[in-house]
């Protein structure tokens, strides 16, 4: 019997890492990672797989493993390398794979005995066969994209039970768009490959049986293929409506799903149980989508587009970016005003970065506009020399925008706009014990933030009278997390956040 340890490293602190919310959700982790359970499902009976996700449990470097396998994204890069080095120092055989290893193999190679590049459905079984024979290679590269029919149902039984707020079902891989800055298409390609609707439902049922009532439909762009999206949502809706307590679904959409002709699809998503959508809006700067070839974002009224989603009871979570070539010093305040008007409570803000393998990195290298490695999270640093402002101005503007967005008053204003878009509830919804326990945890968590923030949940709840509170709940969990991130980064500055625009007077 071979014993394999698979590790999901702790990510760096960021708005994407959802820290400080376990006391509200009652669970140590926020979102499940299904890469390692998928690998576990491919292992033959004579291989025993153990999974450790550092987001929910401590990693023990002791003991002996026949192999330690480590996955991870860019945000997990430093911890990934540290873990690999420590296990190697202890004489263990270490393999590294996953998105970051695939896109930046030159960084990972010195830390790994065995490197996996690309999707693992072909290479992992090939390695396991080699491993059992005692003769394996030092690198396994997948040269072709994987048909998702060959990807097994993830073995979520290997994860700690009840450890996550959100379960995950991957519905497709790849994205047909060609955004210049995106590394997904470099790693997974532009041909979108889908799971069948029955397969998606099977995985949802597995999560339901395991107790999950919120599920992220992991997809690089759920509605890119309208026909496939409709087929999946029709099946998922039928399944969800058969449950005594339907599952709340989250996914990623592109903003062009709000075109008139696509509104029936958006209605279908809402009826199936979609409650939250991450949308890469990136910027209200109309020139930027042209600049980075994000043609699906060439829209005439982004505020109305967001409201069209919200009116269907779906909360929009926006991915936003500063530092496009066409951005100027006015862009920070413009971005703030847009987000307030659109009523987007949850904003994931980062500076534009040129990631390994992307067309953006190639273009900027040719233009001589790349600078050294990232020092910190992408919210606070970039490897790009900006075009119409200095690096200092870009950092200062972004820090102002983060503070401005997440002071309590602007956050409540965005929630108010969002609540106004929601349909009015026609009948009372009785709170049950689960609800009461949740709100008690919210009250305790916010009270610990001090008088400045203690009453945010109360004021927020007032805005949602006769409206569904699902989005409110998620927004309050996220806001607690965002405040924690800004404070731990040392950025939290109410005086700066009170300024209507960044002050560039002292900046070169």
């Amino acid at each position: 019997m071979k014993r394999i340890l698979l590790v999901n490293p702790l990510p760096s602190l960021s708005l994407y890492s959802w820290p400080d919310v376990a006391d509200i959700t009652g669970r140590p982790g926020y979102i499940m990672n299904i890469a390692l359970p998928t690998l576990a499902a491919m292992a033959p009976p004579e291989v025993e797989v153990t999974i450790v996700d550092e987001a929910v449990e401590a990693l023990d470097f002791g003991g002996h493993w026949d192999l330690v396998g480590i996955t991870g994204y860019l945000t997990q890069m430093r911890r990934m390398c540290d873990i690999a080095d420590e296990f190697k120092r202890r004489g263990q055989l270490v393999a590294i794979g996953g998105p970051y290893a695939s896109l930046s193999p030159h960084v990972v190679r010195p830390h790994a005995d065995i490197l996996f590049r690309g999707e693992a459905e072909h290479t992992w079984p090939a390695f396991l066969a080699d491993f059992s024979s005692g003769h394996w290679q030092t690198e396994y590269t997948s040269h072709e994209t994987v048909d998702l029919h060959s990807s097994p149902v993830p073995d979520i039984g290997k994860l700690r039970p009840g450890a996550y707020e959100l379960g995950v079902v991957q519905t497709s891989r790849g994205c047909p768009f060609e955004c210049e800055f995106c590394d997904v298409i470099v790693y997974l390609g532009r041909r979108q490959r889908h799971k069948t609707p029955p397969r998606v439902v099977d995985e949802l049922e597995q999560l339901y049986q395991a107790g999950y009532r919120s599920v992220f439909l992991s997809d690089d762009n759920f509605t890119a293929n309208r026909r496939r999206a409709a087929e999946i949502m029709t099946a998922v809706g039928d399944w969800n409506r058969s449950k005594p307590r339907p599952v709340a679904l989250y996914t990623q959409l592109s903003i062009d799903v709000t075109r008139d002709r696509d509104l029936p699809l958006l209605d279908l998503c809402a009826e199936a149980g979609l409650r939250q959508a991450f949308v890469g809006i990136e910027t209200p700067n109309a020139e930027a989508p042209r600049e980075v070839h994000k043609r699906q974002n060439l829209r005439s009224d982004l505020v109305e587009d967001v409201h069209r989603i919200q009116r269907r009871g779906i909360m929009v979570q926006a991915g936003m970016i500063t530092g496009f070539d066409s951005d100027t010093l006015d862009s920070f305040a413009v971005q703030y005003e847009f987000l307030q008007a659109a009523g987007v409570p949850m904003v994931l803000l980062a500076m534009l970065n040129a990631l390994d393998g992307t067309p953006l990195q190639r273009r900027l290298a040719e233009e001589g506009r790349l600078k050294g490695l990232l020092l910190s999270d992408a919210a606070l640093d970039t490897n790009i020399i900006p075009k119409q402002m200095t690096s200092q101005q870009l950092v200062k503007g972004t820090v102002w925008l983060l503070n401005r967005l997440y002071q309590p008053r602007p956050f409540l204003e965005r929630l108010s706009v969002f609540a106004d878009q929601l349909p009015r509830r026609s009948q009372a919804v009785a709170s049950d014990e689960t609800d009461l326990a949740f709100w008690a945890r919210v009250a305790t968590s916010y009270a610990a933030l001090g008088s400045e923030l203690r009453d945010v949940p109360v004021e927020a709840a007032r805005l949602f009278r006769a409206r569904d509170t699902h989005g409110l709940r998620t927004a309050l969990v996220f806001y607690r997390s965002a405040v924690g991130v800004l404070r731990r980064w040392g950025l939290w500055d109410p005086r700066l956040g009170a300024r209507p625009a960044p002050d560039f007077r002292s900046v070169a």
């Binding site: 760096s12 602190l13 430093r78 050294g372 490695l373 020092l375 910190s376 999270d377 606070l380 640093d381 690096s391 200092q392 950092v395 200062k396 820090v399 009372a428 919804v429 009785a430 709170s431 009461l436 709100w439 008690a440 919210v442 009250a443 305790t444 916010y446 009270a447 610990a448 001090g450 008088s451 203690r454 009453d455 949940p457 109360v458 709840a461 007032r462 949602f464 009278r465 006769a466 409206r467 509170t469 731990r488 980064w489 040392g490 950025l491 939290w492 500055d493 700066l496 002292s506």
Partner: protein
């Protein structure tokens, strides 16, 4: 954990940043990221080593990645502040919250 206060550590960091940046540098703001001051990875590692020597406690070379401002590094390495939760604050908030939610129904 260092015996130095958060304010002391922050002052030390600001002084050392000022020395690195030269006499023409603007005033250092403890709440702006190190990236704003053009600190690169080698600078950050060197700063961590000097800080470790001064404090007499271990400081990981990558401390500036996880704690990207002088204030964050100081708060991390200094004594933990005692919690300032007002007694009964959570109960008061919960009562008000439930009143709002019931009004909502």
């Amino acid at each position: 954990m260092s015996t130095r206060s958060v304010a002391e550590i922050e002052a030390w960091l600001l002084t050392h940043l000022r020395e690195r940046l030269g006499p023409d540098a603007e005033d250092i703001d403890a709440h702006l990221p190190f990236s704003y001051y053009g600190l690169d990875s080698l600078d950050a590692i060197a700063l961590a080593a000097e800080l470790e020597e001064w404090l007499g406690v271990a400081v990981t070379p990558d401390v500036a990645w996880d704690y990207p401002t002088a204030h964050a590094v100081a708060a991390y390495l200094g004594p933990a502040p005692s919690p300032e939760v007002e007694p009964g604050a959570a109960d008061t908030t919960l009562a008000a919250l439930l009143a709002e939610l019931e009004a909502s129904d």
